[in-house]
């Protein structure tokens, strides 16, 4: 973990959800946040490592930081700032 983590407005633990189901959950949660707010997502899906940067680029949100266990089995924390 880095020394300084982004200030978080909401945390979402998605467990082992992945792919399209996970993105629907993510969109629903982001819709409840104001622009500039930061969502921390905790997940285990190895596909998210490639998927969420792509999703953030497509939806004009910013992936600030990815931390945690990047192996198949470990939880990963994603910090996403909602776009304007």
């Amino acid at each position: 973990m880095p020394d300084v983590l982004p200030s978080v407005d909401m945390t979402l633990d998605v467990g082992h959800e992945g792919c399209g189901t996970l993105l629907v959950l993510l969109r629903k949660q982001m819709n409840e946040l104001a622009p500039g707010a930061v969502l921390e997502v905790i997940g285990y899906d190895p596909g998210a490592r490639e998927d969420w940067p792509a999703w953030c680029r497509m939806t004009r949100n910013t992936l600030l930081l990815t931390t945690g266990d990047l192996r198949l089995s470990g939880p990963v924390h994603y910090f996403i700032r909602k776009g304007g």
């Binding site: 190895p46 596909g47 497509m58 192996r71």
Partner: protein
């Protein structure tokens, strides 16, 4: 640079389609096209080292050779994460530079202008 995705949903259940998918992917990569093979459904088995060793369809090069030449020409291989997980496959047994991913990466690639052929 032009972009192309080749979607492959078969492995030993349809060796013909699995092979032809990589033949087309090789043609694209060797033509200087940024190419991504997207493996989903049964196709995810093709991501495992050693799995393709015995697949050799008449009229084509052995599948393992096709995959090696594709990777050597900077071809990318993306594997559907939920398809991979539900079959209990091993991340430390992936061929080459294979990436485990979900639908968003594929959607971004395709909506960015990539053409797609499916097998």
């Amino acid at each position: 640079m032009a972009q192309m995705m080749v979607s492959i949903t078969h492995a030993k259940d349809n060796q013909d389609k699995a092979t032809i998918g990589f033949v087309v992917a090789n043609a694209a990569a060797a033509s200087g096209v940024e190419t991504a093979v997207f493996l989903s459904s049964e196709g995810v088995y093709l991501s495992q080292q050693g799995y393709c060793d015995a697949i050799h369809e008449e009229g084509f090069k052995p599948l393992q050779e096709l995959i090696e030449s594709y990777i050597a020409n900077d071809g990318q291989i993306w594997v559907c994460s939920p398809c991979f997980k539900r079959r209990g496959l091993a991340e430390d047994n992936l061929v080459g530079n294979t990436l485990i991913t979900g639908a968003a990466k594929a959607v971004e690639f395709l909506t960015g202008g990539a053409a797609c052929m499916s097998y």
